[in-house]
Amino acid sequence: MKIKSILMPLLLACVVPLSSQETGGGFSKGPPLAWNFPGQSPRSLAMELAAGNVGEGYQVHDGFWSCTLSKSVPVLVEVFLFAGNDYRFSVASLEPFSQLSLSIFDATGCPVGMEYSGDSFCSTAGLSVIKTGRYFVRLVMTGSDTADTCMVYCYK
């Protein structure tokens, strides 16, 4: 019993992930992209990604956010979410190896939710909201110098 009480914390310490993500310096706002770009665009890719959630009962929010991301310069977008709803955020770019990642933070700046999937050019994160209020979605791209990127979200 005594040995167990000593070993358990040590064992847990080995299992707990130590990774942490650098937030970098300031946040870039970047210029908005043309929304009506013909053909395949970051927006059409992000919409395709979001449409994948429709089968699970999600509705796609009709607005979108777009920007040219610079390597390792995070961008924060403010959103307002309601308690009781589930949300999924999808981000995509046309750069095949852009390595996008999404994180969600609450109004106090604390990380919430989880990243469901990340591909070389797209990523999805989501959360079930407990408290109505402001949230922040952080986008980071680490794979190329710049990447035209678009983010949409859906809810249920």
Partner: protein, 269 residues
């Protein structure tokens, strides 16, 4: 004793990385203040708000549906405000499963859109809405109503009417607050009133309007809209978590003054 030290060391090994990770992952107030606020993403749609309301208090939506507003405002800001209000009404019609009501709302939206020179972009949507309403396909109807609003918004942006997009979104938000306040003013579901705790959002929309050029801000409807947002922000800030029935009634009255008779205060009329 050594066992106790080992145990403490073990717990420290667990907790220190967690604390370290959490602090490095936290956003600072400065970072949060620099976040992008984009009206089209940062302001929730009526669908999101009504979904949350529905989960928390299962309201009788059909009691709230009103007949279409026949006022035909003269200036473009006023038309945009009406568009936003009607968009929210359309969603409420869907919640009430009132197909005819949604069709009437979509018809009114089309009329207003035509006056803003963006009607041609939503003609097909209008027909789809009618078809889905007849079929009682509420999910597709919700999508189509969203898409219609998106088409109007993008067309307005294309013709450099970004201010009208902000006014329409503000109108939609004010109407949502009116409906929410009325629904919850009975005081039967105090927990659900937290959904109306949107002081930051109200303040953000107000800031967007304050950035309008002076000649736009002088218009009666914009002044009235800004006054409504100021009152809403103040009421919401005073009760950050739950709202008393009297505050809810005050908020419903303040918002209804803007949404029910939007032409009444226009000095041109």
């Amino acid at each position: 004793m050594p066992a106790r030290i080992l145990q403490i060391a073990g717990w420290l090994l667990i907790t220190v990385p967690w604390v370290g990770q959490c602090s490095s992952e936290y956003l600072t107030p400065d970072q949060m203040s620099e976040a992008s606020f984009l009206e089209t993403v940062s302001i929730p749609t009526p669908g999101e708000f009504f979904l949350a309301l529905d989960k928390q208090c299962q309201p009788n939506w059909s009691k709230l549906v009103r007949s279409s507003v026949s006022a035909s405002p003269s200036d473009r800001e006023h038309l945009a405000l009406q568009l936003g209000i009607l968009w929210t009404d359309g969603f409420m019609g869907i919640e009430a499963q009132d197909g005819q009501g949604v069709k009437n709302t979509a018809r009114d939206i089309l009329l207003l859109a035509k006056k803003l020179n963006v009607g041609q972009h939503i003609l097909a949507r209008s027909q789809s809405i009618s078809d889905f309403a007849d079929a009682g396909d509420w999910r597709r109807l919700r999508e189509e109503l969203n898409a219609m609003h998106n088409d109007i918004r993008l067309s307005l942006l294309e013709q450099k009417d970004s201010q009208l997009v902000v006014v329409a979104l503000a109108g939609s938000w004010v109407r949502q607050m009116e409906i929410g306040s009325r629904l919850l003013s009975s005081g039967e579901n105090p927990g659900a009133t937290a959904l109306l705790s949107q002081a930051e959002l109200s303040s953000r929309i107000l800031s967007s309007l304050e950035n309008f050029p002076e000649n736009s801000k002088r218009k009666a409807i914009i002044r009235q809209l800004m006054e409504c947002l100021r009152t809403s922000t103040s009421l919401m800030s005073a009760s950050p978590f739950f709202f008393s029935p009297s505050v809810l009634r005050e908020m419903a009255d303040c918002t209804a003054a803007l949404t029910s008779a939007p032409d009444a205060t226009d000095p041109k009329k």
